[in-house]
Assembly symmetry: C2
Homo-oligomer: 475 residues x 2
């Protein structure tokens, strides 16, 4: 018979599928993960708080594609370019996954001929880096970026970025933190003053960038052995990069014999002084630290650079990042990036910060688990239950009327569920109210409305049901 043949074919086809499914491990790609409903609830809570701060500062939002023409990303990331994910050439354009949200922003501004915008962008970016998932380092991860583009007076947008980072980290209650500040012009000037040849500035800067993870001895070795710097220059750099402080340090460095004769160093220091002054006015002086060891790896920064670290982190040791969450925000000024995309080289100065939420998720998730907190993953207000068999169409009719009034309601997808199972579902899922349908009540035009925690039940007329539920939810 035809049906039998059909079933046999189906079994065969599904057998083939099964065979192919056995060939691979059931997993997500390396360095990526799924978010389950609990993790999504946590993530949404964090992102909502961040967006609230961005909006408080008047940011608009934009979105760009997850991939860009490969050439858009080329030459923007220095040594990190090797971490870019490329798409396969399937005939057509050569594409890569975005590495950050900054280069796509610059491409967007040039393409749309926008000369000023204050925008946020929350989206995932992709890096073929060595994952360390327990510490929140993934190959696919969220960035929450806030940037101010436009030609403005010195340090006013730059200081607002610091304020925003402080507001966000305070809102997220992740504990004590410090926003480290430095300036690319000062770094370049300092390298020059120490006798670094100008063609080595970027590679020496990349080495300095590793000071948050490696001790000075290792960084010094990299400078000399890998980057070919002479011992004297490296040792001089060593004396500067251990300095950190506030306005006093800026003033001291402005008098430094080596630095005061290098124009870019002086300009960097003067801008730093103004930034610290504005930070004071904005009430975030206590949260910032001028730190000469802060370098940041990306090529495109041209002015102030930021990096925010949690103070509660375990101390850095020689084995690397073991046990630390690391940086939770970073950014800086990049005045030349938009011009790289503009056919007429028109520059749009930009400054921005990026919040590294994955590390914050890890931290908050660990805290939540330690406290044994259970987060509701749905917002159901009422469960519609049957007291006995044969009521599923009546349930459907009542729940439908609740949905139509905007009430968040669910019921069992079984025609004859057990009452106990239904009530247990309510208790386990923190649903505040339940309606219990029974023929004897329905005949009188009423249902039982039950408060799940107290188990108190009242009869409510069907025609008053939605209003009564809304009244109880509000109170």
């Amino acid at each position: 018979e035809e049906v039998a043949k059909l079933l046999a074919l189906k079994a065969k086809l599904s057998g083939e599928e099964n065979a192919s499914s056995q060939k691979f491990t059931l997993k997500t790609p390396k360095g990526t993960r799924d978010y389950n409903p609990q993790q999504m609830a946590l993530r949404q809570g964090v992102l909502d708080k961040i967006v609230a701060v961005f909006k408080k500062h008047g940011a608009e939002s934009i979105d760009t594609p997850v991939f860009e023409l490969k050439e858009v990303l080329t030459g923007k990331y220095g040594e990190d370019s090797k971490l870019i994910y490329d798409l396969k050439d399937q005939g057509g354009e050569i594409l890569s996954l975005r590495y950050d949200l900054t280069v796509p922003l610059a491409r967007y501004l040039a393409m749309s001929k926008i000369s000023s915008i204050k925008r946020y962008h929350i989206a995932k970016v992709y890096r073929r880096d060595n994952p360390a998932m327990t510490r929140g380092r993934y190959r696919e991860f969220y960035q929450c970026d806030f940037d101010i583009a436009g030609t403005y007076d010195p340090m006013l947008p730059d200081a607002e970025c610091v304020k925003i980072v402080v507001e966000i980290l305070e809102a997220l209650q992740v504990g004590d933190f410090v926003v480290k500040l430095n300036h690319r012009l000062l770094l370049d000037g300092m390298f020059e003053a120490c006798g670094v040849p100008s063609d080595k500035f970027r590679s020496i800067c990349s080495a300095v960038d590793k000071l948050d993870k490696s001790p000075w001895a290792d960084v010094r070795k990299e400078m000399i052995e890998e980057k070919g710097l002479n011992d004297a220059a490296a040792d001089l750099i060593g004396t500067y990069v251990q300095l950190s402080g506030g306005t006093d340090l800026v003033d001291k460095l402005l008098q430094d014999d080596r630095l005061k004769s290098v124009k870019s160093a002086v300009k960097g220091l003067e801008e730093m002084k103004l930034l610290l002054q504005y930070c004071k006015v904005l009430g975030v002086e206590k949260n910032v630290l001028f730190d000469l060891s802060l370098a940041r790896g990306l090529d495109y920064y041209t002015g102030v650079i930021y990096e925010c670290v949690l103070k509660s982190d375990a101390p850095v040791d020689s084995s690397g990042e073991q046990g630390t969450i690391g940086s939770v925000a970073g950014g800086g000024r990049y005045d030349n990036l938009v011009g790289m995309f503009d056919p007429k080289k028109k520059q749009v100065p930009c400054v921005g910060v990026s919040i590294g939420v994955e590390r914050i998720f890890s931290l908050l998730e660990a805290r939540q688990n330690a406290q044994g907190l259970k987060v509701r993953t749905t917002e159901i207000e009422v469960y519609v239950a049957s007291a006995h068999k044969g009521l599923h169409e009546k349930r459907l009719k009542i729940i439908s009327s609740l949905w139509d009034k905007g009430i968040k309601a669910e019921h069992s997808y079984k025609t004859n569920p057990k009452l106990l199972a239904q009530l247990q579902h309510c208790e386990e899922n923190g649903i505040p109210l339940a309606i219990v349908l029974g023929d004897s009540e329905l005949e009188r035009g009423v249902v039982k409305l039950r408060e799940v925690t107290t188990r108190k039940e009242d009869e409510v007329k069907l025609e008053d049901l939605a209003d009564e539920i809304i009244r109880r939810l509000r109170s």
Copy 2:
């Protein structure tokens, strides 16, 4: 001098960047687009309404990576598999961008050993299809999926999916629409009854799927010439696929001589009858149409299938989709997909719908543009302005205190902006309130609080400022 050498090097480097930037067109990849702030505001509004309906029905949310191991996607999409984006092999796993959110859900359920969940997932998916961007067809596009996984009684979850589509489209006010319903078992049974060999079911089904875009004559030709079906079978199919209706049609087909002897056809019809009955109880009978021409291309459906089209669309003509928005939602039951991933072949029956928001965005954007509506893209409540020079630090201090009280505020990033320019900014951006600082007022401990639309100004004491602003915003 060192600085000069440095500047020369910088110019040279930036010259190289410029040279490379001139080699490519400044564009987003084919079939993709940026969202500007106006489009983001529209998009967020649409997504918020959709999420509200999903939450009203008790859905949790999950997220999965943008790419999957290539094998996860293999053998799931039939003829459409050629549209999958692959990543370049950079040493490591072979990856592809997700094609939909359904296969990743099935992979997630099998991997996490979840046997029941009601979840929504809003994320972008990727298809190397022929883009038609003015009609909202992109290579990168959002899907808003709602699915119910679990072993339940027939048609209860299936009917709720219809209810959800209706609630969403009504909430979005996109005009009249119809949710077309059909059943894969009925299609297969109908093909069998018409004499289609069972190994041709899927390919003939793909041909029927084109009936929404092509006239029957073209589809018949494809069946006979490309798929090798005989004329008689094709003509018989032609008599069925022109049928559509409600419960009456189901009853008529249950008496149909050819169909009533084919088990799968009878089962499909009986389930359709129950689904239509539940749709009636849920108050969405007027929105649905049982339509035998509905096929849906994807391989994995096993039961009910849905597709929602806007009635206001231009009529289908022989040139294809010209001028039409096409389908705005679709879905169906897929009972065997999770089992393909489970090492022990454990099945988790699923049913779900996917809202095609890009087409809805296009429609609403066109409507907005036609009406000349301007949407606010920020939520700024107060602008802090200087009446004259030299007040930028006082502005910073005041705006900082407003931010600390949660007030959405912005100011100029120029130290000495013109008052007129500041007030114009408020009017152009729909900012309701402005504070105007002036030395004479500040000496008396007050500032001017201005209602932007009426231009009415009152003096407010500095210490009362935040409270007064909050009071005015609430009223």
